[in-house]
Point group: C2
Chain length 383, copies 2
């Protein structure tokens, strides 16, 4: 499946939650499948910390890897592009086509760096609403995402109750925990500690790759589980038979982390890492309210909340807390805790269970979209 | 309780597991209480990654803090210095008085730095045996420690079965897991990434404090639990009412981590952090054997194994695996899983439960030591 990343620049001011103003905003996005005549089959997929607009397929025939959720998005998959019109965009603050700290500040003609204003999950969602208006879609069939994607989906349901019929929240939370803030902060400290970071001013010099790699390695440990690391690596040595009694890479798990940490520096901007983790830290739908339940008094969506048994970054108690708050508002809520050893990554990997759940959830929500017999050739079905 | 740190230098070669040789070894140690006439009341306490010989009391009247396990060691405490002669020494590879990478290499007259040979837990225990010989003690009543201290205690029971009557293993493991290796490696990478580290050669220049602080912050997160961080910090802001929308310290948990990370750099050597974590990574009593049970075929000690429900760094399954291996060898083993929210730090904090357990365990082991009615003044009781 070949898909083009598109982008739209909104030549208007975005007033952020902080009070700061961005003079203009560009969003990179991709779409898959066809919008139906009554524009009722749109699904907005929202990405996590290191994701981007390229959720599935290939941007060119030279690509060696498909999009980040290839297993869940496509014809016949959990987000069936034969039935649904799927949208995915890069968040502001990011570095994959949307406006972020590496973008040129139109006022100065130079990259923003740390002069880029701090953005929040609500700010991200505000720009996504602009994109929805631009695409001419009044209401989404569903908003969904895992991790920070789930936070955005929750924010959609709270900020724009009339624009979303449902929200599917995977491996996420209504407010970031102390442990997750702590992990984000240590990752940021690893970037600050790299002299190449230079207070965010490195776009004309060597970037802080060493610090960013450490930040990413911390992240990778938190995306896996004790069990999945034991199963995948154990105490296996990498390309050697015996201990070397030195500080070279020896264990397979070390080799994996170093590889992933270094690879990340080739596709991600360290400042974006700072801004996006900060947006997550600030995320708390109960902020300024007596209780979390008060956050959902205006919400109307139908909710599917999914957590995974081995996810210790967004453990099930956080989803259960969310579900209690939704139910206190009488909202139609389904909660599923999936048994999985894959840790936080489960939301990306447990696609068979996800396909079952989304099928049931969306069929109930929009039976008409499922009455159409799907034809083997989706191009013929969507001329 | 005032106690002096002592030290002994062994002017003899230490042949390490790696095959490398240290020309001489200094051990810093402290002792508490009195060795009884038949020398049967000695307890060796073994410290974890960042510990030292100063396990309890004060080294001088100016000290603001007591030793690292003050709540567990002293008159009437879990390790009752009215009854027992308690020994604690700093591990080799460390930086608190024992020979390590910051020590002067007697051959070159300069600090070892990375030319210091990689040491293992078995090497640490070998030097502790030298100290035991030097103190004239044939057999320890017990060896005990949490975390890496528990690894050393296990190694004692395996390497010198005739020298230990019992071993108390707290929050530890018989072989380091992939997850813990991964966390150690990321912490090391944070040090490597600091240009001040300079491949370990910084003893005449600014030390790699930024990298070491990040390493320590990672550690601190792993010593706590999701629950304890929620209870202790939650999403509380530090000395401010509202979000600042910047990258300053805002959340209490961030402030705590930064403080602890920076404080650590004032008392710990970055190279020692590398050597000690590497020793932990190598620790695997089953290395080269068909099974873990085979590691204990020559062991004779009576074992008390303790794990803590919220300890995700050394989770209970690792203690249970150890216990199964001990029982397969018919060894007298007691296993207790303590309900606690304190995470890995539980072994330091849950001293009341520990005092009960050690009292029962040691009374059964050495009833004679407990028949003596303890007098209020322990100096009078041990003239």
């Amino acid at each position: 499946m070949l898909v083009q990343t598109q982008s739209v620049t909104f030549q208007r001011e975005l007033r952020l939650q902080s009070g700061a103003v961005l003079p203009q905003v560009t969003l990179a996005y991709e779409t898959y499948g066809q919008l139906n005549q009554d524009r009722s089959n749109a699904i907005y997929i929202l990405h996590a910390l290191s994701g981007d607009a390229h959720v599935a397929g290939y941007n060119s025939s030279d690509d060696t890897k498909p999009g980040w959720w290839e297993d869940a998005v496509g014809p016949g998959k959990a987000f069936d592009t034969d039935r649904y019109f799927v949208i995915c965009s890069n968040v502001i603050g990011g570095c994959r086509g949307s406006t972020g700290p590496a973008s040129i500040n139109p006022v100065t003609g130079k990259p923003y760096g740390l002069s880029f204003p701090v953005v929040t999950v609500a700010d991200m969602v505000e720009t996504q609403r602009w994109l929805l208006d631009y695409l001419g879609i009044d209401q989404l069939l569903t908003v969904t995402g895992g991790s920070m994607g789930g936070m955005q989906a929750l924010q959609w349901a709270v900020s724009y109750p009339d624009r979303v019929r449902s929200a599917m929240i995977l491996a996420s939370t209504a407010r970031l925990s102390a442990q997750t803030i702590a992990l984000n902060e240590v990752a940021r400290q690893a970037i600050y500690a790299d002299p190449n970071w230079n207070h965010g001013d490195y776009y004309n010099s060597a970037p802080p790759n060493a610090g960013l790699a450490v930040a990413r390695m911390i992240g990778h440990i938190t995306y896996l589980s004790d069990t999945s690391m034991r199963d995948k690596f154990g105490r296996r040595l990498q390309e050697r038979e015996r201990f070397g009694y030195d500080f070279n890479t020896e264990f397979a798990v070390e080799s994996y982390l170093r590889y992933r940490g270094n690879a990340f520096t080739r596709r991600f901007d360290a400042n974006s890492f700072l801004y996006i983790t900060k947006a997550m830290d600030y995320f708390d739908l109960s902020y300024g309210l007596p209780s979390l339940a008060d956050a959902f008094v205006t919400a109307k969506a139908k909710f599917l909340v999914v957590s995974y048994t081995s996810d210790w970054l967004y453990p099930s108690w956080q989803s259960k807390e969310l579900v209690r708050s939704l139910l206190q508002n009488g909202l139609d809520t389904t909660y599923v805790e999936i048994e999985s050893d894959y840790g936080h990554d489960s939301f990306l990997l447990e696609v068979d269970r996800l396909a079952e759940l989304t099928h049931d959830f969306l069929t109930q929500l929009a039976p008409a979209l499922h009455q159409t017999v799907s034809t083997p050739n989706h191009i013929a079905a969507n001329p």
